[in-house]
Amino acid sequence: MKLFILVLCHGDIRMNKSEMKYIKKEFYFSKVIRAEILFTPFLIALPLIVGFSLIYDWYARGMLEGNPAFNGELVLGIVILVGNIAFDVPFVRSLRVLSKKK
């Protein structure tokens, strides 16, 4: 990191191989994080869709038709929703903190 700051402070210095490699790595890292941010909507939305689908299926085929066989789908849907939201919230918050810092 000291190296990186050195490069920032003295932009005119000639970089050696390891310095170049470090900068390249830093570039890769920011690229990967960008890819991760692009992937986030899918990462968050799909489990929620699956959870809601299970709850909807319980409602449509279980509750409305008075069939208790679908109760498992309700519990499963709630577990998937709660489990995912519990991890999505801190993840999105950390992404926001990161983007604010950037």
Partner: protein, 225 residues
């Protein structure tokens, strides 16, 4: 000099935030795996059955090819965000995760596959958080209870004896799978396969208990048209 110190502090903060981000990214990625249960929701129609047969192995083969390219150095490990340090020179845990899910979806009844997948997707990150915040003392007890809950959901339609047996054996198998780590075999694989094989033994011996097989939890959906 003060400026350099300030910059150092700023950069250190940034790096720390990146680590934190990777941590939650891994957790979210785990929880995302629960969406593979969509496999059981899909309607029982010919063309969807073909998709159900081909898409999961296609995804796993794609992941394996990606991993081979990474390990042979054709793709830099730097492109894989959230990869752990020890995974740099061995097969990544996401490959084990995907292979285990494929085996469960393809070869196990859903009463076994669903709780085992939930153990890896939701149980594993919860256990990780317990380990981080409360230490190892609470890990076994709370981890066991969390995983047992998933097996209770899946076996609630069975007889009381089977319900209790499957829940305890499943929870026990999952916690053993989570805590036993090998360099060459990841816990993401073990947490799914150990309870799956233990429950398979129970599943095979159900007729000897004199009871019937528990009903399915997820029923295939119907086409809206």
């Amino acid at each position: 000099m003060v400026k350099v110190a300030e910059r150092l502090r700023d950069t250190k903060k940034k790096i720390n935030s990146l680590d934190f981000d990777a941590h939650w990214y891994r957790r979210t990625f785990h929880a995302f795996g629960a969406s593979f249960l969509v496999y059981y929701i899909l309607p029982d129609v010919d063309w969807i059955n073909i998709l159900k047969f081909w898409v999961p192995p296609f995804i796993v083969v794609f992941v394996i090819i990606l991993e081979v390219l990474r390990l042979t150095g054709k793709i830099s490990s730097d492109h894989f965000f959230g990869l752990r340090m020890y995974e740099k020179n061995r097969v990544g845990s996401y490959v084990f995760f995907a292979v285990a899910i494929l085996i469960l979806l393809r070869f196990f009844p859903q009463q076994i596959a669903i709780p085992c997948i939930l153990c890896a997707t939701l149980g594993d990150p919860i256990i990780g958080e317990i380990r981080q915040h409360f230490g190892m003392n609470y890990l076994f007890l709370f981890g066991f209870l969390v995983c047992m809950f998933f097996f209770m959901i899946a076996w609630f339609k069975s007889d009381i004896l089977l319900f209790v047996l499957a829940s305890i054996v499943g929870g026990f198998g999952a916690i053993i799978g989570e805590t036993k780590k090998f360099w060459w075999l990841d816990d993401d694989f073990m947490i799914q396969m150990i309870p799956a094989f233990l429950l398979l033994i129970i599943w095979i011996s159900i007729p000897y208990f004199g009871s019937g097989y528990p009903g399915e939890i997820i029923y295939p959906g119907t086409m809206p048209w």
